[in-house]
Symmetry: C2
Subunit: 418 residues, 2 copies
């Protein structure tokens, strides 16, 4: 290990700095990717929409009453471009895309997909999990006993050599978690080549599904609005049209507690999902869908709204990076991502240090996502990855927290090295 | 069979009357228990609530952001009396109580209840289904391969002798559908004695659950606001505290497409449900919950709102009953319910006639719920039960439709008798 090797004096200096930080008695929370109140204010208009006389959607639909399982046509049209699918290939649901992901897994477990010969629950099944990844994805697998197989995630997507080899050889692999743009937590963006290989690869399981969680489709942090290849088109082109389940939501566009979740897929998959939803519900909250249509109006307006979000949160990301650059630039085995979008910075610390950094931070009043959360079963085998979520606190608090985290990293690295 | 035995002349008269009705070219839909537009208007205030500056719930909760899996405390308090449970024993969810019922079954199938030794899906399981009953309950069972065992439903509840015998003998019986008040479609109200026996009975399955769908808890059609015994209290008293899952919603209080679904149960069951919901979602739409609190305010206001609903729909029920009394009073083997609440009238026609009546009605432009829908697997073994849903059409349309249905019953009965 090439970690910092301070003498005892340096270590004591770091200890003193940390204790000074600790003495400030801060209470900061960097655990979750939550929008700040100022971002929520951008959508306050929703709180009085659609308005007392406005409840009629296209086709003379009374949105107040039952029905409309697939969601309002105007919602599906509004998000068609973002989802990369025609409106008839989009399903608009209630407030949680996580719930949609969960439910499609549950349906597959109990009934199989439209390409399955048996329910998934009748055999051992596995999901590929690019790591570091999103803890809530992993939690679903863990909860239902789905074996998780980690694969490395790089800047341009998962290690495709490994992925191709695994899915070709192992018919138990039924799914793969993908956050293809501004990935949680690394900010990785899947390259066109990676998307193409995911669409084209041979899978031993005929009912293999890409769980394509495009959670940050329009959530840019720079003026470069990164675009990724269309997984639905690519899969279709390779004869694997049923492979992707595409998910997104307005949780970080409008209001997290009361947004819309969206699903897009092939005609067969949409038909399958609607058949699965039929015993469950008569339809989604269409008034909330109409409310969103009235507020968001058109894709260009969504882009303008996201620009306002960017102006609020990009400085917080910049501040964290500035402080890390200042304090950690020359620390061996410490690195961090510089995301162009999304909600997270991923900080890599020396092997065996992540838990200690998070403990030290907690003792100084800065709560971080638990160590290991970015990996299946909550276990980061190298104990290296820390997820930083800078959006919710104020800029001043983010600066304080980042300073504190930097101190903790320095101290933990020094302890390892001593 | 003691059915009407008309001579050829009478038959021809009935045929002529039916054809005259048919010639009117009506287009009426009595299939589903949907509120009419005028009922929805009663809740139009919701369309502009909570208002642009109003998003803070108790405990300084920003309802716009993530979190709050159990639902807002003020919602759970508001519906505490209606659910017959303390606020901490209530879960407030998104817009569909059917979805909650479905999901609790899915969780039990995949993971078992808090009293199960194995997931339900690992064995053959059965549900008791009082008949006539609600087609959407039966559809869930059918979809997941849960065997349905019909038991007769009387005015005061299911045949408890049969129920007790079945659940005591058969450990595969894990659940029972109950609509305890103003049952769909018969309007049956479970007597205190029936509730007591359901709470007390011995079940072979230790993880047996009553799916207590109290869909019409406050949905009275007469000035007598019928009350039923509290199943949670009774079960607790008999040492079967985990037995009931109580469900309700505001679908027919406020707006069907965008109401709130509610669940109430023992502490263990609530803990179990929240643990099951945790991988699925970060929380329900809290703004819609706040919206409902602002609009409904208190239980007395809910009662006043329901009184307005009653004034709109009771005349429709009265009209159907008046017309049936007028045309069908002396027809052998024809009878119908006189519900004190709920959304349906159940019409019993001579054995083997229901399908024919529904066909005749359809050919005359009156669409009724498909024959058999009130029974498991869509099969009414006696082909006798027809569900009438008079709330959605106007009073004039309801009158026309009821006239038509009466004609169809007379004609079909005559054919059977000839």
């Amino acid at each position: 290990m090439s970690a910092l090797r301070p003498d005892e004096k340096t270590y004591q200096q770091l200890r003193t700095q940390y204790e000074a930080f600790q003495a400030r008695g801060l209470k900061l929370d960097l655990t979750r990717g939550k929008p700040a109140a100022g971002q929520l204010d951008l959508s306050n208009e929703l709180l009085s929409l659609p308005g007392a006389d406005d409840y009629t959607a296209e086709g003379a639909t009374d949105t107040r009453n039952y029905g409309g399982l697939q969601g309002l046509l105007e919602v599906r049209r509004l998000f068609s471009a973002m989802m990369g699918a025609a409106p008839e290939n989009v399903v608009a649901a209630n407030n949680s895309s996580l719930a949609l992901m969960h439910d499609t897994i549950v349906y597959a477990l109990l009934k199989g997909t439209c390409d399955s010969t048996a329910p998934w629950s009748q055999q051992e099944i596995s999901f590929l999990c690019p790591v570091p990844g999103y803890d809530r994805h992993f939690k679903i697998c863990q909860d239902y006993g789905i074996r998780m197989i980690p694969v490395p995630l790089y800047e341009d997507g998962p290690d495709m050599d490994q992925v191709e080899k695994l899915v070709a050889a192992d018919a138990s692999i039924k799914g793969m978690w993908c956050v293809p743009k501004y990935s949680n937590p690394t900010g990785s963006v899947y390259s066109d080549a990676v998307v193409e290989r995911l669409a084209a690869m041979k899978t031993a399981a005929p009912d293999f599904r890409l769980y394509w969680d495009n959670a940050y489709a329009v959530h840019h942090l720079t003026e470069e609005a990164v675009e990724i290849a269309n997984i639905l088109e690519a899969s279709q082109r390779h004869g694997n049209g049923n492979r992707p389940f595409v998910f997104a939501s307005t949780s970080k566009i409008t209001l997290p507690g009361s947004g819309l979740a969206l699903f897009a897929a092939s005609g067969d998959n949409v038909k399958w999902l609607l058949a699965r939803l039929t015993p469950r519900t008569i339809g989604p909250d269409k008034i909330n869908q109409l409310r969103h249509v009235r507020f968001l109006k058109e894709p260009a307006a969504i882009a303008r709204l996201m620009e306002k979000h960017r102006k609020l949160i990009a400085p917080k990301f910049a501040k964290v990076l500035e402080i890390f650059d200042q304090h950690l630039a020359n620390v061996p085995d410490v690195s961090w991502t510089r995301p162009k979008g999304g909600y997270f910075i991923s900080l890599e610390v020396p092997r065996g240090c992540a838990k200690r950094v998070i403990e030290l931070a907690k003792d100084a009043g800065v709560v971080l996502t638990p160590a290991g959360a970015t990996h299946p079963y909550g276990k980061d085998p190298e104990d290296r990855t820390i997820r930083i979520a800078p959006t919710f606190p104020t800029l001043k608090e983010v600066a304080e927290a980042a300073e504190g985290v930097a101190q903790c990293v320095l101290l933990a690295s020094a302890v390892v090295a001593v």
